[in-house]
Assembly symmetry: C2
Homo-oligomer: 400 residues x 2
């Protein structure tokens, strides 16, 4: 599974691997579906005020919803993820971004659970975002798209869950920005979840986390092709977006994992010009940056990172009041070498749960993979999640 | 001294503060001088091959050289520093970048010592670099300037020391890239130094350190005004350089120092457009980036960061052989919260010294300022340096 160790959230289009897996017939072929908010409500009221509509969410489901509709798990993606969390896409053969965790007999077992994953509001993988058509102008929104929040993303997901006829989710699960959405579900819709698994995440961004996002945004906005967000139909700000992604990649890995993966090795084929990529780590970052721009919209990058920066479940509240009244069980997972979302931030989540009398378990996994560990250090993570879901699932059986 | 706590190496032009200090008459007025390599040698042989010339080094001196010429200390600057290390510039009133350490009765006491600081080869503050005129074309070098190394910088400094008539330096001192030059002096000219103080530095860059530099270089090179380095006389790649500097600033601070300085506070005057600077930390980074481009050349940024990335005193050698035969005393200083040049890298320097039988002292200062601590956590640092220099100085008195 070497391809899985190559960095962050981009492991789509690993076609060779996809074919190999497909031949084993263990992998489900999946298809992205689209849900457009029906009338009423055709619009969503936004946290910063105003309404947005029409709204479409791209989503996928894996496994079967049981008769009691009690086995549904909502999986929430990180900054650059999408609805295609598991299996092989019927469309382009891409493997889901958390396929190592979700599937038959895996950590989130699709033989037992009905798994839903949707692309976030503001995204660029089928859900309404800045690259969608603005009904008022007939052209893509660009930066006329309103500022959105993690709360808006979760409100949109709640409409999808309503549409699927699910009153109560067995669990919400996600890492990084996916974890922020998990925390937001715990606050916005505590009565609609039985369990929650926030992974490698935080109650609020620190200035350092904001700073890394801000530099990425600046890299995009100084690209002359950004043109105040109005680049659709013309050349795109791919160079700025690639730099933003390179910064991201450094923060997703750890000092140790980079040392192990690259050391100070030089590339075998050096580029023949000055300041070309010479060290392997340089070639890797350029490759990652260049690949990312093929699949991601620069304006979505701006909106989504801004939503992460705004996210603040404390916001003047006392820690004990954040999860007050929550009945769900919580499993908080952090990774020792994650310096982007350091374990102390996960410990604060646990503390908030404990102060509110919420049943919370904390697991800190000893991984060298940094923030990426939530996608890579899968064996221990899967074990923890499997066991936790099984407990949450059993608790709802009559007589237990 | 709030102005000193505002970040990294840029505290020039704090004119208000300068006037205040000038009025106390405690601060020396300083002047930058220029040394051009005489014939022979008018050229410098470079580590990557080829020769470079003519070469000029901008330098300043503070204090008086004694009759025995035994009290000279060479101070070496970091990535964006210059020759103006101390006092107030006669020219523009700027305070030296390490003025809190160097001066009468300070950590490096100019009543006792003769202090020299020169702008590095490849720089843009008076020393020969990519913005200098290429004698072959009559135009600035741009990227026709040869790739240089930390070794080349130190060889050039050695010519300056010869010119000043100093056979043996009492000490070489510097932090960050300045520390790399200190280590290079220990290897290249061990017989010409009595003591060495490498601060917050490393024997070699890790892939993470290379990666941060590489993203900065990419940000510059994707700026359309970079034009393969041929921008002199036209618009400069200021936007790319500002992004590079912003990335740098994040790595110079610590999670804790950013939390303390900015928290999640919003700016009082928000910019009236979407994705303007809203959080204080965003405003700070933009301010730092925009200021930097007024005083620094983008091509110098490329060459100097590349020299740092190439730097590798191990390079296949055993640790015990790096400082073999060195007679100088060594004081290694690191800072607990420095995650750009973490203490483990300083500990490796100490280990290399010990294995080679070199007398080395290690001090890890408990600061929250991250890498910037070497410029800010001055009280303890000054105390350590003062005591160490006094010992080194006394050791050379006859009969001691």
């Amino acid at each position: 599974m070497k391809a899985y160790q190559c960095g962050a959230l981009e492991r789509t289009n690993i076609l060779g691997r996809a074919k190999e897996l497909a031949s084993t017939e263990l992998i489900e072929k999946t298809e992205t579906k689209y849900f457009t908010f029906a009338n009423p409500p055709s619009e969503l009221s936004l946290e910063f005020g105003g309404k947005l509509g029409p709204i479409t969410l791209a989503y996928e489901t894996y496994g079967e919803l049981n008769k009691q509709k009690s086995n549904a798990i909502l999986v929430l993606h990180a900054l650059s993820g999408d609805a295609h969390a598991a299996g092989i896409s019927k469309n382009d053969g891409a493997i889901g971004w958390w396929d190592n965790l979700i599937g038959p007999s895996k950590g989130i077992d699709t033989n037992k659970y009905f798994v839903i994953c949707s692309n976030v509001l503001g995204g660029c993988k089928g859900s309404t975002g800045p690259s969608s058509i603005n009904p008022a102008t007939g052209k893509p929104y660009g930066i006329d798209f309103p500022l959105i929040t993690i709360g808006d993303m979760v409100n949109a997901q709640r409409h999808l869950i309503d549409y699927l006829g699910i009153e109560k989710l067995l669990a919400v699960v996600g890492g990084s920005m996916g974890g922020m959405q998990v925390l937001q579900w715990m606050v916005s819709y505590p009565e609609r979840i039985r369990a929650a698994i926030p992974i490698a995440t935080t109650l609020k961004h620190t200035p350092q986390q904001i700073a890394f996002n801000e530099v990425g945004r600046q890299a995009i906005m100084v690209d002359p092709n950004w043109r105040m967000g109005d680049y659709y139909g013309g050349p795109k700000p791919v160079k700025g977006l690639a730099v933003a992604r390179m910064i991201g990649h450094i923060t997703y890995m750890s000092d140790v994992s980079m040392e192990k993966k690259f050391g100070r090795r030089f590339r075998t084929e050096k580029e023949p010009y000055k300041f070309g990529a010479e060290f392997e780590v340089e070639g890797y970052l350029r490759y990652r940056g260049d690949n990312f721009v093929k699949r991601f919209d620069a304006n979505s990058y701006l909106y989504i990172t801004k939503a992460m920066d705004y996210f603040d479940l404390l916001n003047g509240k006392h820690l004990r009041d954040v999860f007050k009244g929550l009945k769900a069980k919580v499993l908080v997972i952090a990774f020792k070498s994650d310096w982007l979302y350091p374990p102390y931030q996960s410990q604060e989540i646990v503390k908030a749960c404990k102060l509110a009398g919420v049943e919370a378990t904390y697991c800190e996994i000893d991984s060298i993979y940094g923030h990426d560990a939530f996608l890579l250090e899968i064996e221990e993570e899967a074990h923890l999640i499997k066991h936790f879901l099984s407990r949450a699932s059993n608790d709802q059986r009559p007589g237990v």
